[in-house]
């Protein structure tokens, strides 16, 4: 993620952890879940207090990037509207 601080094209785009971004906001948020299938301990990613911060910081657009197979095993996949993705 240091590409965002080193590349002029991305100057101004900030990269934060869920802990450091509490209380801040942007129009557009990309939430990168990091974990992939096969990772045993998903600790932070399954933490509601961190997820609620990450999914409420935007005003206009939220793009979540993750491995759907990891999310599928959690409660988050239930009853949320599908956009076919």
């Amino acid at each position: 993620m240091s590409i965002f601080t080193q590349n002029d094209k991305y100057r101004g785009i900030e990269v934060h952890t869920t802990n450091t971004f509490q209380g801040f906001g942007r129009a557009v948020i990309f939430y990168d879940f990091v974990i992939a299938q096969g990772v045993a301990n998903v600790d932070f990613v399954a933490d509601d207090s961190r997820n609620v911060v990450a999914t409420t910081r935007h005003t206009s657009a939220l793009v979540m990037v993750g491995d759907f197979n990891c999310m599928e095993s959690s409660d988050y996949s239930t009853e949320t509207p599908s956009r076919g993705c």
Binding site: M1, S2, F4, Y10, R11, G12, I13, E14, V15, H16, T17, T18, F21, R26, A27, V28, I29, F30, Y31, D32, F33, V34, I35, A36, Q37, G38, V39, N41, F44, D47, D48, S49, N51, V52, V53, A54, T55, T56, R57, H58, T59, S60, A61, L62, V63, M64, V65, G66, D67, F68, N69, M71, D75, Y76, E79, T80, P81, R83, G84, C85
Partner: protein, 156 residues
């Protein structure tokens, strides 16, 4: 134990006067749906004055989503186009990056994933280009990337 609790929780436990805001007044309609459903049990109302028309970036976002297919990649055929958001709302999207490699730092528990860095850059570039081509003002300062792990935030 108390040090681990958020400040607001601690103040409320000490009986400081507080009032729960029952209305979401900040985000484009639809953008709060996920958090409201998963974390707040649908108890938060959406401010009646909020309209998608007042969020030009959200409108551009919805149109950009229509250029992606159901897996989040560039759309090639109309039959695989991502479903549109319900009328009067713009929903968040989830990009599925299957078969990526997540590593753990050698002397700790923090994690990183170079594949997801590339994927995030790809979609960020794509959305920025779309906004630029369609003359929607989207500055870099309007964008942030949030990750759960410090190792990932500091990765190359």
């Amino acid at each position: 134990m108390q040090g681990r609790l958020p400040l607001l929780t601690r103040l409320r436990r000490r009986n400081w006067p507080s009032w729960m805001q029952p209305e979401q007044l900040r985000m484009c309609p639809g953008m709060f749906y996920l958090a409201n459903h998963v974390f707040y049990n649908n108890t938060i109302k959406i401010g009646s004055h909020l309209k998608v028309a007042n969020f030009p970036i959200s409108i551009a976002f919805e149109r950009w989503c229509s250029t992606l297919n159901s897996s989040g990649m560039a759309n090639t055929t109309a039959s695989t186009t991502m479903k549109p958001s319900p009328s009067g709302e713009v929903l968040p999207i989830f990009i599925d990056g299957s078969n990526s490699f997540c590593y753990r730092e050698s002397n700790g528990t923090s994690k990183g994933n170079a594949d997801f860095v590339n994927l995030t850059c790809h979609y960020l570039d794509s959305f920025k280009d779309y906004c630029e081509k369609n003359q929607v003002v989207l500055k870099n300062e309007d964008i942030a990337i949030v990750v759960p792990y410090l190792k990932h935030a500091r990765s190359p």
